[in-house]
């Protein structure tokens, strides 16, 4: 595969959320409105790029027996730096995100990419892979957050989109969208949609037979 594929494959075909079903906790928890979701997506993106690059550079020297511990150490350090930066420059949003920035450490996408990709590829390829996966995570998170904020509060980035009945408009906000279950529904529909689309694409005679890349087998669906 060339770099372009590393960048684009995660966006749809190997999307970490809708196809691999990873990183769901944060996608559910911080997708209530767009602004914190933007910061969260940027944080995960930075951590992902840093950890993939660092692990890829160190892949020759990391002892196999303790590689997971060292990968987590590197990820955790990056997360602390991101968390402290947010506390300094975006204290309000940092408070909204509360524990979820710290929980990026346990985001399966980050460890998954480090272990499954960066351990076997060079630094440039690993960064391309991290950028692709980070963008894919961000895309889904922002999409869910945009849907939830629009339908739940009638706003987008706190700017009124649908005039709510409370402020004299016609739109009665859907309060369910403000709670975590609504993210389940939206992500569920997205997973269904993407799966249906892939299924259809795979049945067309021109597409190659879809085979799961071997490295996906290492990933768990717990995070």
């Amino acid at each position: 595969m060339n770099y372009r594929q590393y960048l684009t494959r995660p966006l749809l075909d190997e999307n970490p959320i809708t196809v691999q079903v990873l990183g769901l906790c944060s996608a559910l928890a911080v997708s209530r409105s767009l602004r914190p979701a933007l910061i969260m997506a940027a944080s995960v993106f930075c951590v992902l790029v840093f950890s993939n690059l660092a692990v890829s550079l160190l892949r020759g020297v990391l002892p196999r027996s303790i590689r997971l511990i060292l990968e987590v150490t590197i990820i955790a350090s990056a997360v602390i730096v991101v968390d402290e930066t947010l506390k300094a420059y975006a204290p309000d949003i940092s408070q909204v995100l509360s524990v979820f920035v710290g929980l990026i450490i346990t985001n399966c996408i980050v460890l998954g990419r480090a272990e499954a990709f960066a351990m076997r590829h060079g630094p440039l390829e690993s960064v391309a892979d991290a950028v692709g996966n980070g963008a894919a995570y961000a895309g889904i998170l922002l999409l869910v957050a945009a849907i939830r904020e629009t339908l739940g509060s009638g706003t987008l980035l706190e700017l009124p989109i649908l005039p709510t009945t409370a402020s004299g408009g016609w739109y009665p906000p859907n309060e369910m969208m403000l709670y975590a279950p609504s993210a389940f529904f939206i992500i569920g529909l997205l997973i269904w949609g993407v799966a249906a689309w892939r299924h259809k694409a795979n049945r067309s005679p021109h597409s190659e037979l879809e085979t799961q890349p071997a490295h996906l087998k290492y990933q768990e669906t717990a995070g």
């Binding site: 160190l58 990391l62 002892p63 196999r64 027996s65 303790i66 060292l70 150490t73 300094a88 204290p91």
Partner: protein, 262 residues
């Protein structure tokens, strides 16, 4: 893959740990001043909110200038009087909550029945006075104490009569996100307004309890965050009691301590 030598494994582990900790410490070192500035701004905001001087939309610059305009007095907790000069410098900038353990500016108080309350109090505490012409409109008192998991820091504003609550503002705490942090909820904090803090005999009597919020000495606790909200009641009762601001407020109410606008 070659078999791994223990020595090399340990060496790599140590090197990675060292590199990571260096990165984290450097980042924190650089970010600390910015974080401190924001913390100071947050404190100014909380004081202004308790003083009733915080408009809904206000720039950071305005917060600072309005804060600096407040009438700040330093209370000597050992003698319970206002002092004009103290060894801690400008009362407006002094943060008595930032004192480290073992600081000579901490005061031992005899812990009585309220054993969960601090036995070490800052010797000098800044309080904020809001004037309306020649009469005292509000008195903002910093309070702190043990919550469920963490120390809760808050500002309690009393009305000019020095016996009813004008506002309650939680400044900082480490209670459970989503549960204990509901003590920040403005709706709940507004139920404090108008409550009486002293009974007829002058005892500090405000409680946070279940039910019966009709009583002037009772604030309804938060369902699901009962321990944290009750703790806030204990903190208020302690700080308005004999070891806190009790004697000072009594002297001010009885006019044995003169109080004049600046």
């Amino acid at each position: 893959m070659a078999t791994e030598k223990i020595g090399r494994t340990l060496l790599v582990a140590a090197a990675v740990a060292l590199g990571c900790s260096a990165m984290v410490s450097l980042a924190i070192q650089f970010l600390r001043p910015v974080q401190d500035a924001y913390a100071q701004l947050g404190r100014n905001r909380a004081v202004l909110a308790a003083a009733g001087e915080l408009p809904e939309t206000v720039s950071d610059r305005m917060v600072v200038s309005r804060y600096l305009d407040l009438d700040v007095r330093m209370v000597d907790m050992s003698s319970q009087v206002f002092v004009d000069s103290s060894p801690v410098g400008d009362a407006r900038l002094y943060d008595h909550w930032a004192l480290g353990e073992g600081s000579p500016l901490l005061l031992h108080v005899s812990a009585e029945a309220t054993s969960d309350q601090p036995s070490l109090l800052p010797r000098y505490v800044p309080v904020y006075l809001v004037w309306e012409g020649q009469t005292l409109h509000r008195l903002v008192l910093p309070i702190h104490g043990q919550g469920m998991w963490s120390t809760i820091y808050a500002y309690l504003a009393l009305n000019g009569d020095l016996s009813t609550v004008a506002a309650m503002q939680v400044y900082r705490h480490g209670e459970t996100p989503g549960i204990g942090d509901r003590i920040e909820d403005p709706k709940w904090l507004s139920t404090w307004i108008g409550k009486r803090v002293y009974d007829d005999t002058g005892r500090s009597q405000l409680h946070v309890t279940r039910g019966s919020s009709d009583s002037p000495y009772r604030v309804n606790l938060i369902t699901g965050a009962s321990v944290t909200s009750e703790a806030l009641g204990n903190i208020v009762r302690f700080w308005l009691g004999p070891q806190g601001y009790g004697p000072l407020l009594q002297a001010l109410r009885g006019s044995t301590l003169p109080l004049n606008p600046p």
